[in-house]
């Protein structure tokens, strides 16, 4: 078993989203929102998506940033600053949505517009259902996972 030496894959832009935790978080988000919440409505399923979303969202921001920089031919590998900003923005928006009803309403409308753009139903965009719930802030530490993933990828990338 020790004889196997898997070749390290050279990092490519946005590959932070290929980290197992990122993929697992995305899978959890999909399953929880579309299946588990329906079957077991309650605080646990309500929080699960928050945890998963707070892992995946900063990574998605970083990935988008890396893709844009890569397309313009610039150094794209994200460091502390990039992931720090992504984590801070995500945390701030999440906290606002969960604490301030107008922010909740705004994001709810924005999601509704996004859904409408995707499906174009005849009756126009409708707000999605997002709750203002301060207890959801318990999921904020999940942001650290995204932070660590990006930094570890950078260390690993420097080794290659």
């Amino acid at each position: 078993m020790e004889a196997i030496a898997r070749r390290h894959a050279r990092p490519v832009p946005a590959d932070v989203l290929l980290h197992p935790i990122a993929i697992a978080s995305l899978g959890l988000l999909i399953v929880n929102d579309h299946v588990l919440k329906g079957a077991f409505p309650g605080p646990i399923t309500g929080k699960l998506s928050d945890f998963a979303g707070l892992v995946i969202f900063p990574l998605a921001l970083v990935a988008t940033w890396e893709l844009l920089r890569s397309l313009t031919g610039r150094k794209w590998m994200s460091g502390r600053l990039s992931i720090g900003v992504a984590v801070a923005v995500t945390g701030a928006v999440f906290a606002a949505v969960k604490l301030v009803p107008p922010a909740t309403a705004l994001v709810s409308e924005l999601f509704g517009v996004g859904q409408w753009l995707l499906t174009m139903p005849a009756d126009g965009p409708l707000p999605t259902r997002i709750m203002t719930d301060a207890t959801d802030l318990v999921a904020l530490p999940a942001l650290l996972i995204a932070y660590v993933i990006v930094l570890r990828r950078r260390e690993h990338g420097n080794d290659v």
């Binding site: 050279r10 579309h34 588990l36």
Partner: protein, 465 residues
């Protein structure tokens, strides 16, 4: 220079990013309030040819459910179900709806159903709001009254009994073969493999007993519990084998698989016994557990292949073992997910029944792909795909015996369980034969040729270090 692997890696990254974006839009975060849940009562009765259902929902406000809802009649053993559209607009409804007095009451009469629906019938009622986000819809569907009615069981037909007997005999033969092979292992001083083979066979036997019990018409919870114990026995087999090869514990994926295999079936069995799976079709649960049982073959392979690797390490057999480990983990998870999906969305039982294995296969192949773009060799990727498809075919063939039995109008869907137990046992037998075959023969296998000729250079890469 950008390699092929890197191009795929970029593509996969962009794909995940797009999926994340779509997921964000397609979901509606937030936990529904308990106060919003609807309550109601339902009543089902029948005399064998006609089924009547009366469902009443408390405090129903048509305006809050503009998308209407639907009823589903899930007849055990029947593909799909009968879906009746409910709408506040009588011209659009296929069933009479009375939404007066702040409540919803529907009387249904289902005539002329096939003889099979006299055996068992489950009626679910859901309301959904098509204007809301999907997550809200899903929640509302489940938040409503759920009614269930059961009608007396018919006696199994003689043809069904005949096929059932054949199925049980098939399973018994396979299990017995595995036991013999296990003892052969012990005689050959390959104790770990021998212990595993014997325990695998024990698991197959217990599954067989579970299936036999099913024929006698025992409650589903009991069957599931027995099947769970059988699975646990298989998992213990793997753990014992792993303990005998202590080096395996150095890799988390190798011990994670058996742990999952221990936990999942027990959890499933417990849930089934507690009634959490009541809406689920019995055949699906049996099938899902059966697929999980088929994983036993892989468990055995996990132990056997490393023993081969002492001789054939340069052929990359170890890589195959790793891929198989991944298969075990993902198959277990996929099986559990299949059960979960099917139990939550009962009107789609038959769809998930058919789609479950394909979903598992897709996930596993996706995992192999993921490993490849992250550094595994192309050979491992191809072998993973081959192993996955082989496993799926094996499960399908084994499951086909059960379906065949069921199509003859057998006593119950539990035929699938012994059928897959038999398939598992026979496949285990094939694996053990491969394991004890002379090294010269093994060198001639696809695995050997793959790493020596198909992708020259990769064998060195695999054994580097």
């Amino acid at each position: 220079m950008t390699s092929n692997r890197e191009r795929w890696r970029r593509l996969a990254s962009v794909g995940v990013l797009l999926l994340a974006g779509l997921t964000s839009l397609a979901t509606s975060p937030g936990t529904p309030s308990i106060d919003d849940q609807l309550t109601g009562q339902s009543e089902v009765s029948g005399d064998g040819a006609t089924v009547k259902a009366t469902i009443t929902v408390d405090d129903f406000t048509p305006n809050s459910h503009q998308g209407g809802g639907y009823f589903e009649f899930q007849l055990a053993g029947e593909p799909g179900g009968i879906v009746l559209t409910l709408s506040p607009d009588p011209s659009e409804a296929t069933s009479p709806v009375d939404t007066s007095a702040g409540s919803l009451r529907i009387d249904l009469r289902l005539d002329g159903c096939s003889p099979r629906c006299t055996r068992e019938m489950t009626v679910n009622m859901h309301l959904s709001d098509s204007r809301a986000a999907p997550a809200v819809v899903a929640w509302q569907m489940q938040a409503l009254a759920y009614g269930e009615g059961r009608i007396a069981l018919d006696a199994p037909s003689s043809v069904g009994s005949l096929v059932g007997t054949f199925t049980v005999a098939f399973a018994a033969g396979g299990a017995a073969g595995t036991v013999l092979t296990g003892f052969l292992f012990v005689l050959l001083r390959r104790r770990a493999a021998g212990v595993v083979a014997v325990l695998e066979a024990t698991a197959a036997f217990i599954l067989l007993i579970a299936g036999t019990i099913t024929l006698l018409g025992t409650p589903m919870g009991f069957r599931s519990a027995v099947a769970g114990v059988a699975e646990a026995a298989a998992a213990v087999a793997v753990l014992v084998g792993a303990a005998l090869r202590r080096t395996w514990f150095k890799r988390p994926t190798l011990w994670l698989a058996p742990v999952l295999i221990v936990l999942l079936p027990f959890a499933i069995a417990q849930l089934a016994a507690s009634g959490a799976f009541r809406p689920i079709d019995v055949s699906l649960l049996s099938f899902a557990l059966g697929v999980s049982a088929a994983v036993g073959v892989l468990e055995l392979g996990l132990l056997l292949l490393p023993s081969l690797s002492r001789v054939d390490q340069r052929n990359g057999v170890v890589v195959v073992a790793e891929v198989l480990t991944a298969l075990v983990v993902v198959t277990s998870i996929g099986t559990a997910a299949t059960i979960a999906l099917a139990s939550f969305q009962t009107n789609a039982n038959s769809i998930y029944f058919a789609a479950g294995p394909f979903v598992v296969v897709a996930i596993v192949i996706g995992l192999c792909f993921w490993r490849w773009i992250n550094g595994d060799s192309l050979s491992a990727f191809v072998l993973g795909v081959v192993a996955t498809v082989s496993c799926a075919l094996m499960a399908v063939v084994a499951g086909a015996f059960g379906l065949l039995a069921n199509s003859f109008g057998g006593s119950d869907n539990g035929f699938i369980l012994p059928a897959i137990a038999g398939g598992t046992a026979l496949a285990s037998l094939a694996m053990t034969v491969l394991a004890i075959s002379p090294p010269r023969l093994r060198h001639g296998t696809v695995v050997g040729r793959d790493f020596q000729t198909a992708w020259p250079g990769e064998a060195q890469e695999l054994t580097r270090g």
